[in-house]
Assembly symmetry: C2
Homo-oligomer: 448 residues x 2
């Protein structure tokens, strides 16, 4: 989705080295909008535009550029010019970015960044991806508890330019132990009593996370409590960082994409559909396809082993896709419902008995319903109404198996400490294909 409105103008200004024009473009709008208008520029062009901006506008707009453009700029620009930009970026964003960038370039840029900032980057880079540590920022509004409301507001005003958020102010002791939280809202409400001490206002019962917590769990916590930010503490209760709502939104979107991809049997992509190289994407798809294909080869071997029965009663063959897709579709539904309910923490593996009970009941109802339609269809194609009974009986059984397997496999995966989303729709369908054929052939042999 590229807005090409400004691109020709920007390219003209770049060619004419019209620094004043470019600077005006960078300052006129909200940085997010400016970045939108720059979509479609090459990294080199984008960097040309940003070089004309003030250092503040530059870092803001840079933050809204797409990741591939950011990486492109880092990998093609002059490290001496890039270092101040990296030093100005929010700590959490720059660590994400450096993770994506060629490491030799990262080392060069890092060597040009002031020692203190560099240490901060190295510390955050040490946390594994997808953990709270990798999400958090280290720029925190921190104050001691013995300040008054009016002192606190002035001090926060002074700190503000370096901080991502000033709306949650964390109260710490001399050794950075987290003691409490005061919101800027409380301070503003208390303006009538400017001498009130922070220690009187602060909340002491804080919800915190640890730097090694999984990002998904952190995001769910912030979302549940409607927090603007959540503090990250270590084992000694030192305040090591905060995670803000905007990063939580990013993580929730990322996780939704990951789950959607798994549900479609695609290994989740790091980047977008168009941004992922064709061969990489093909490889990511081929993995799961091979697993599913192996299951499908089993169906061929199974059908071969029932060859005698099939040659005798040829009309049975016509219903093979119908029978297995009935099970596959109900199984997919159950798996989808259970995986999503596990993700949103509505159910836990320990709820398996109530889930099983519901799925068996729904399996009976849906099975009876589909079996009825199936019987009508079978009566037209089978030699007798009696013989046609094979179809509804099989459908009924296979639908119940579908609901049970579809619901229980994700629960089993979760219990085993694996991602239940791995037990995805096509995977469940693949297993049920095999079960379906075995059931079908045995019902047929038994009834005919």
């Amino acid at each position: 989705m590229i807005n090409t409105l400004y691109l020709p103008e920007l390219r003209e200004m770049l060619a004419a080295k019209d620094e004043a024009g470019l600077r005006e473009f960078c300052e006129a709008l909200h940085a997010g909008r400016t970045a939108e208008f720059m979509e479609g520029l090459t990294p080199l062009e984008a960097w040309g535009v940003l070089r004309a901006a003030s250092s503040q506008a530059r870092v803001e707009i840079f933050g809204y550029l797409e990741e591939e453009v950011q990486v492109g700029i880092l990998e093609s620009g002059d490290p001496a010019e890039l270092a101040p930009l990296i030093a100005d970026m929010p700590p959490d964003d720059r660590v994400d970015l450096l993770h994506q960038t060629d490491s030799s370039i990262v080392e060069t840029v890092l060597s040009l960044i002031p020692t203190e900032e560099r240490r901060d980057i190295l510390r955050l880079r040490a946390y594994p991806e997808e953990t709270a540590g990798a999400m958090m920022t280290t720029e925190i509004a921190k104050l001691p508890e013995n300040l008054t409301v009016s002192e606190a507001l002035k001090e926060i005003g002074r700190q503000a330019k370096d901080l991502e958020t000033i709306y949650y102010i964390y109260i710490v002791d001399e050794e950075d132990h987290l003691r409490g939280l005061v919101s800027t809202r409380q301070l503003v409400t208390q303006l009538g009593k400017p001498e009130t001490l922070l220690s009187e206002l602060m909340k002491r019962d804080l919800v915190t996370v640890s730097a090694t917590d999984d990002q998904e769990a952190v995001a769910e916590k912030v979302a549940d409590f409607d927090f603007l930010a959540i503090p990250v503490v270590d084992a000694e209760w030192h305040l090591v960082g905060i995670i803000t709502y905007d990063d939580v939104i990013d993580v929730l979107q990322e996780e939704a994409t990951e789950d959607a991809h798994l549900a479609g049997a695609v290994q989740p992509l790091e980047e977008g559909y168009l941004a992922t190289r064709l061969f990489l994407l093909t490889r990511l798809r081929a993995g799961w396809l091979t697993v599913l294909f192996a299951a499908a080869i089993l169906t061929a071997l199974l059908l071969q082993s029932y060859d005698a029965a099939l040659e005798e009663v040829t009309w049975l063959v016509w219903f093979v896709p119908l029978v297995i897709s009935s099970g596959g579709n109900t199984g997919s539904q159950s798996a989808t419902l259970i995986i999503r309910a596990l993700t949103t923490k509505e159910i836990m593996p320990s709820d398996w008995s109530i889930v099983l009970w519901r799925e068996v009941l729904m399996g009976c109802l849906l099975g009876a319903f589909l079996a009825t339609i199936g019987y009508v269809a079978a009566c037209f194609l089978a030699p007798s109404a009696m013989a046609a009974l094979v179809i509804p009986v099989t459908i009924f059984l296979v639908v119940i198996c579908g609901t049970i397997l579809g619901a229980m496999l994700p629960l089993l995966f979760q219990r085993m400490g694996l991602d239940p989303a791995l037990m995805s729709t096509p995977f469940v369908a693949g297993i049920i294909d095999i079960v379906g054929i075995v059931l079908y052939m045995n019902v047929a042999i038994w009834l005919l």
Copy 2:
């Protein structure tokens, strides 16, 4: 996931009418945590606990209770006691709640609420669900532009107790036209120059939404720009409401659930898996299953029509599930990737040519890969290596059809103004089953 730690104690206090104990329980912790500890209580019990709380704690905890408990309380409590609670709730949350509650009870409670609040509820209730109007709150920090920084801070401190957020302050003229935005952060930073006018500080280039915009589009906008809130304006640029980040997070989660359900061919649930009545859930599942079943009956009819060929070359039958699942699985992958890329606005229907090109290429690669494995398997089961060629040729073609259909159908749906997620994984798989059988039989007739 119920935390049963406090339940026996709470029930004991309720039985003993221990108001002081209950009140202490309600005030001691963050309201979100208190609500967590109350999970597992019946609505009647929960209301018993809340009645002991101060009116402020009561409305806060109530806001964190699960929706079914909130509705249960409304439908069983005394309207005269409930009216003040509803009057204190944030406007956006209470409208959502009243939408879910029995309408005769809503009318009784509404009649007991002060006129101005009642009008606000009725106005917000008039917006269709899933629109910006239904998401927004009408409690907005609003100031005229001729105030100074210090006047503004004092005034916001006075208004704070009725507002959901005080961090974005909207600058309006006498007729409530939106003129600009000042953040509390700017005010705090300017404390050194308390005489600065808001008109000098305010940002005039605002990103806004209209009350009739779809909630998903609004959520994406707020998420992209990392806003704390976004203003809702009418055609004359009157400020009618704001939408805050926490509601955006809720909508993003809601939409992710909806898309996940559609991808599994389940009509999206209004409530959770366990909270939805069994018969309703069965009905929601039966709808899509019937559509898919109808497609599967077509496969049976198709196979019947190719009966002569199948009776002659029986081994072909064994590969029917393999052939159609190859197409179904690659088609599901393509549909998943494209639907998600459309949802995250990474691609637009107008990108169809680049998508088609990529999918054809990937289809060729994946098709060649699966065809090779398929050929090896077929050589074992088919009478000759020449005859076995039917399998790889069909797989190759069906995989390409799968990628093309899987990618193009969601784009087509989006272009037609429908939700691309409707063209969900099992639906695409169902269509490809039919295409697969036709291809298979024709390749077989041609080659053998």
